[in-house]
């Protein structure tokens, strides 16, 4: 892993450089099929997500970044390496690590409120507590009038709001988001990017966010991890400025800021090398 502290480090204000690692992916390698014969998706990737940090992983499509997420969530066992939460082996998937999937993965047979309450019911949260937290999430995500709708009655953007609410209602220590806005139209994506930015800023979630969009990475990330093409390795880690004005505002305004443009150019250059050299 090559840690970049190059020319982009100027102006970084890391609020908590000493804060402990919340989620660690340690030397993760993943083969689908027999090692040496099957598909080598990820090779020796290490990522450390500190408490309250927003880490974005970018890379060309098919580079194994989603695999990294499924391994991080505990849905797949790594072939080599291990996943740690608070320094201890993470074990099977569970409510401390909530996931927002690219294709929403809402349960089609359940209404919005049933979907959001699913995890609370599975983990034995009391009925009154369930209602309180449900009401809170419906309010935050603006879903109150859709509580009795089925997912198939909602637009893609609304469905993804439900999926985010379903993840946040668990009050997770770690939030894993796998290209959550990849399936949405541009306008809806912009709105949700801004909302996720705001949520992170207000609630200080620890987030591992996967995307192929460089803009999204620059706008949302505290740090950006650039991956190589398959087998995915970590090409570069870039620290972004935190708590600067352009990150708290609208994404269109941010995109015009010279600093944003500079980072986007650098990261896009790194990603492009991986696409062109295929």
């Amino acid at each position: 892993m090559e840690q970049s502290a190059g020319k982009m480090t100027s102006g970084i204000t890391d609020p908590a450089p000493e804060s402990p690692a919340k989620l660690e992916l340690c030397n993760i390698s993943k083969w689908f099929g027999p090692e040496g014969e099957g598909v080598h998706a990820v090779d020796d990737c290490s990522i450390e997500v500190k408490k309250g940090e927003f880490i974005v992983v970018v890379g060309p499509s098919g580079c194994g970044k989603s695999t990294l997420m499924t391994v991080g969530a505990g849905l797949e066992e790594p072939t080599h390496g291990e996943v740690l939460v608070d320094g201890k082996p993470a074990g099977p998937p569970g409510p401390t690590r909530s996931v927002v999937f690219q294709k929403f993965a809402l349960f089609p047979s359940e209404t919005v409120e049933q979907n959001i309450k699913f995890g609370l019911q599975m983990t034995g949260v009391s009925a009154t507590e369930q209602e309180t937290r449900l009401a809170e999430q419906l309010k935050i995500m603006g879903l109150e009038q859709f509580r009795r709708s089925y997912p198939s009655e909602l637009s893609g953007g609304m469905q993804q709001r439900v999926a985010i609410a379903r993840a946040l209602v668990m009050q997770p220590e770690i939030l894993l988001m796998d290209e959550p806005f990849g399936a949405l139209d541009a306008q809806t994506r912009t709105i949700l990017q801004e909302e996720v930015q705001r949520l992170h800023r207000e609630m200080h979630y620890t987030v591992l966010f996967i995307t192929h969009s460089v803009e999204e990475a620059v706008y949302l990330g505290d740090r950006v991890v650039v991956m190589t093409r398959r087998p995915g390795r970590i090409k570069r880690v870039i620290d972004l400025p935190r708590d600067v004005a352009w990150k708290t505002g609208d994404i269109e305004l941010a995109a015009e800021h010279p600093e944003f443009i500079e980072f986007r150019r650098e990261i896009w250059g790194l990603v492009r090398e991986e696409i062109v050299s295929i």
Partner: protein, 270 residues
């Protein structure tokens, strides 16, 4: 022509169209039947009775016992056997199908036997059923069961196998164990396919039942038809055939309609 006119009047929906076509084609059949019998006597009454004769016989069987029972009695005993057979097939078949899909090793192990069994026609079991249960309700119910079982198992298994992995992943992430994942996520997702299996089972069972009743038993619609043959009463046979057809359509419609209550989230998608 009628359709065009109705369309102009603005009362023609797609569903209305289908109903209209249905009514027209059935009426044509009836008119043809009337022409062939009462009107022009193209066909002799002992080969094809007229609608009037069939209606008369129908009224007769409704009020007077035929071979011990009136028509509703025959219908009820047929429905009872059919119900037992289909219910048992559902109660055993759905869990078996789900278990097959949930445990692929088990499927590999049992499938050869199952493949073999499902190529044996249900009627081949009639002699066996008679030997096992005599001339009781269980005999025909067993034939219905045999006819209904495979489609329920196969479709339940397909339904579960086709559930996208991402839903199971989501259930795991949010803390559901195997059983609760199965109950809350997998079964509802597989339900439409299970429903299809049940519908096929219901019609297969109905056909097998009538076949079985032709051979064994002292009551039921199939038996009534067989008695019609014994007494050379073609009208009775027609009463039986028409009743069987109408009941089949009725049952299938009810099952189809029930889907939107049992699977309410599907009404939006369809």
């Amino acid at each position: 022509m009628i359709e065009k006119r109705l369309e102009r009047m603005g009362v023609m929906t797609d569903r209305g169209k289908a109903t209209a076509y249905g009514i027209v084609s059935l009426s044509l059949l009836l008119i043809l039947w009337i022409c062939a019998t009462s009107l022009f006597q193209w066909i002799e009454p002992r080969v094809l009775p007229s609608p009037a004769q069939v209606i008369k016989q129908f009224a007769w069987i409704l009020t007077e016992p035929f071979s011990g029972l009136r028509l509703p009695g025959h219908i009820l005993s047929s429905l009872e056997r059919w119900g037992w057979g289909v219910l048992t097939a559902g109660f055993i078949g759905i869990p078996v199908g789900v278990f097959f899909a949930w445990n692929p090793w088990f499927k590999t192990f049992v499938n050869p036997v199952f493949e073999l069994i499902h190529f044996i026609p249900p009627f081949a079991y009639i002699p066996l059923a008679v030997l096992w249960f005599g001339a009781s309700t269980a005999t025909q119910a067993m034939v219905v069961f045999v006819a209904a079982f495979p489609s329920i198992v196969i479709n339940s298994q397909l339904g579960v196998a086709q559930v996208e992995k991402i839903y199971i992943d989501a259930a795991r992430v949010f803390g559901a164990g195997q059983l609760r994942t199965l109950w809350r996520v997998v079964l509802p997702a597989a339900a439409p396919s299970i429903y299809t299996g049940l519908r096929i089972a219901i019609s297969n069972g109905w056909m097998a039942l009538v076949g079985a009743e032709l051979v064994v038993g002292k009551v039921g619609l199939g038996f009534m038809i067989a008695q019609g043959q014994e007494n050379a009463s073609v009208a009775t046979i027609f009463v039986g055939i028409i009743t069987i057809g109408c009941l089949g359509v009725l049952i299938d419609t009810l099952v189809q309609r029930s889907e939107r209550f049992v699977l309410p989230w599907r009404k939006v998608a369809s």
